[in-house]
């Protein structure tokens, strides 16, 4: 009898209909947490039992709840057997019915890695290539936290290239040398090939959303990284949506990955327009392209009202672009932004 009581129990299994998926439940975790840890795209948002995003219908099995799911469900849903994944503690093997899966959900991983490449893309942007000790899957547009022993705290950088099948342990980032920046200063301060680095990710919700309309990408500085990553991943799926890509830099020498963008442009199945805009290019230079701020050229984008926009880079640029897109008729829920803050901006602000 004692053996029966104290024998380590097999984890409960959950079958997810109609998606033909199943996963094991981690003891002490909610249904939602176990699903996410298993890599299942269980829709969710608040995680505290109020928004209703993680609703599912219990078909078979026993559960208990942290708080009643009635708090986050309509009376009708509750009476029809729906419950919330974030409040469910699994008490037996379950069969559940889930309306849809969120394909953009990837579990967080913390991996140890080594720097394998650090090549200069411009005089102040490095392409940092890392190999980690396990696969790191991510959704293009997301970012990871990088940490090295020499620098206190981690820094966040967007993945600059989509995951490569069979090489999910190879990761790539674009790092700008920030004046006074501790991490970028360390990276630019010598050869870091072979240095140990910890990668925690993927994080963030910036990604390509579904739709049929045109896509507007607006980037500045290393904001190009996640946009390039998203577009390269989209190319593999033969996405047939016209793209207008506006990219802002200071001078010609700050433009980078032009070959990659040219490749994208030529391989894209429908129109792809790349518009670089330089804000500080000397007037007497040979540059014949656009000059000024990248947001000044938002009005050149065709069919704004039916487009989706992906904005990435310094907050003032993103804010200005967002304001103008809204002014030209783009709905707020069609604009997705990832603002890049840097720690050197905040250091002096946080003194008292």
């Amino acid at each position: 009898m004692l053996k029966k009581w104290f024998k380590k129990k097999d984890p409960f299994k959950v079958i997810v209909a109609p998606h033909d998926r199943q996963f094991a439940v981690t003891a002490g975790h909610t249904l939602l947490e176990s699903a996410l840890a298993a890599g299942l795209g269980f829709p969710h948002d608040c995680r505290v039992g109020t928004c209703g995003s993680c609703r599912y219908r219990l078909v078979e099995g026993k559960i208990s709840e942290l708080n009643s799911s009635a708090m986050g469900l309509s009376a009708e849903d509750f009476q029809n057997g729906y419950r919330l994944g974030c409040q469910t503690i699994v008490r037996s093997d379950l069969k559940v019915w889930l309306p849809e899966l969120d394909e953009n959900t990837v579990p967080l991983a913390v991996l140890n890695g080594e720097i394998r490449g650090a090549s200069l893309l411009t005089e102040n942007i490095i392409e940092l290539c890392i190999v980690v000790d396990g696969p790191m899957n991510f959704v293009p547009g997301q970012y990871a936290d990088l940490e090295v022993e020499a620098v206190l705290g981690s820094r966040s950088y967007s993945f600059a290239a989509p995951p490569l099948v069979g090489h999910e342990d190879s990761l790539c980032f674009h790092v700008r040398h920030v004046p006074g920046g501790k991490f970028s200063g360390w990276l630019f301060g010598g050869s870091r090939i072979g240095a140990k680095i910890k990668v925690s990710g993927p994080r963030g919700r910036f990604h390509m959303h579904g739709g049929d309309g045109p896509v507007v990408c607006i980037g500045g500085g290393t904001g190009l990284a996640p946009l390039k990553c998203i577009l390269e991943a989209a190319l593999k799926t033969r996405l047939k949506r016209p793209v207008s890509f506006l990219y802002g830099a200071r001078t010609q020498s700050d433009l980078y990955c032009l070959q990659d963008i040219d490749t994208l442009s030529h391989q894209w199945p429908v129109p792809f327009t790349f518009i670089p805009v330089l804000s500080n290019e000397p007037l007497d230079s040979a540059w014949t392209g656009r000059r000024g701020f990248v947001s000044d050229y938002v009005e050149e984008v065709q069919d704004i009202k039916n487009s989706q926009a992906y904005l990435c880079g310094p907050p003032p640029m993103v804010d200005a672009a967002e304001t103008l897109l809204r002014r030209y008729g783009m709905p707020a829920d069609a604009i997705f932004a990832d603002r890049f803050f840097d720690r050197s901006m905040s250091a002096s602000q946080n003194q008292i």
Partner: protein, 372 residues
């Protein structure tokens, strides 16, 4: 080693217990920890480090020690009254008693209760409810989870102080919303389950019972004055809880329905306030995932920061000073560097309602919101 930091909480509470055991003017020992903690938090450098916790059970110990310690605090108080070591007829000892109990009922009790109410097991949640009784709100978890976590930084959230609101006003509005939202949520939940709002399952009955039990116990074991001390201490603790709560999201703005992001909470990364608060002042990641254990919360030095919480708390007693030296400068910085264009618009509308300057002006030629 990092796990040991959190033992500051049981040490502080134990000092309060010791004060009542010793009796006499030592009853002031509990409240005396407040200025000591404040001074330490001010003079020590900020603490922006993540925690290294190899054994979670050690870090968790202080959470489960707090309830027996608080019971011990009240027991020591009542024994000191009955034995005559604590003369509640003496003004000094009366005031010292409720100040000490009131302070410890808020800090570190609330942060510990907050951590426990988010755990995924009935036992810590029940302990959280009992602990929350000491600061007069046994059902705090209901409004906290159903309203604050969903609506933070919007006008629907009673826990987000609006621009121009003083701490005095906030204590009342937050208290009102906490009870009203909790009552409403419980009733709604029961109705959706096909039950009457008056059903015995309504947790409001438990709340009322617990709120009565504490002073009633003091009356039975002690005397009327002891019961009054309990009531005053609970009310004081409630005021302190909301008083500290005021600084967590003061004046911040979020568009309803938009995701919660890193800039939607103030962070206080003090060397003392982090452990005594069980990391509640380093809590934006808690809003992104409420099940993250307190020691796993990642400090975000890049995210909006406030000075020492104790400094804010002290300055907040004089609202014009708080607004001038901390609130307005920090919010102006937040508006410029963190707020999205939509949030900027809402921020300026909030400034207008508060009678504050419009430090962001629309640039009519380009649609940019520029700074003066």
């Amino acid at each position: 080693m990092d796990s040991l930091r959190y033992f500051l909480s049981p040490v502080v509470t134990s000092i309060g217990v010791a004060g009542f055991v010793l009796g006499g003017h030592f009853v002031w020992l509990g409240i005396s920890t407040f200025p000591v903690l404040m001074i330490l938090d001010l003079v020590l450098p900020p603490d922006t480090d993540a925690r290294n916790i190899p054994h979670a059970w050690i870090a968790d110990m202080h959470l489960f020690l707090q309830l027996p310690l608080m019971i011990g605090l009240y027991a020591a108080f009542l024994i000191s009254v009955k034995s005559g070591r604590n003369d509640l007829g003496s003004g000094m000892q009366l005031v010292g008693s409720f100040l000490s109990i009131g302070w410890l009922s808020a800090v570190p009790t609330l942060p510990i209760a907050h951590e426990l109410m988010h755990r995924r097991h009935w036992f810590p949640r029940r302990v959280a409810q009992l602990l929350s009784t000491f600061y007069g709100e046994p059902n705090r978890d209901i409004a906290h989870v159903t309203i604050h976590h969903l609506h933070l930084d919007t006008r629907k959230d009673g826990d987000t102080a609006y621009r121009g609101q003083s701490v005095y006003s906030f204590v009342f509005t937050a208290t009102f919303h906490a009870f009203a939202d909790g009552l409403h949520a419980e009733a709604l939940s029961l109705r959706r389950q096909g039950l009457s709002a008056w059903n015995w399952r309504n947790k409001t009955y438990q709340e009322v019972l617990l709120l009565i039990c504490l002073p009633a116990g003091c009356l039975l074991v002690g005397n009327v004055t002891a019961a009054l001390v309990a009531i005053i201490a609970m009310a004081m603790a409630k005021g302190l809880v909301e008083g500290f709560n005021y600084y967590q999201h003061y004046g911040l703005i979020r568009v309803e329905g938009k995701p919660i992001e890193l800039h939607h909470a103030w962070n206080h990364l003090g060397m003392i306030v982090r452990p005594i608060g069980s990391e509640i002042t380093n809590h934006i990641h808690h809003h992104l995932n409420g099940y993250t254990r307190f020691y796993d919360l990642k400090p975000e030095p890049d995210a909006p920061r406030m000075p020492s919480l104790f400094l804010c708390f002290a300055l907040g007693f004089v609202p014009p000073l708080w607004f001038r030296f901390i609130a307005k400068p920090r919010l102006e910085d937040w508006d410029r560097r963190f707020a999205s264009p939509e949030e900027k618009k809402l921020a300026m509308a909030a400034n207008e309602r508060a009678g504050w300057a419009q430090w962001l002006e629309p640039d009519l030629s380009s649609g940019r919101l520029s700074t003066r």
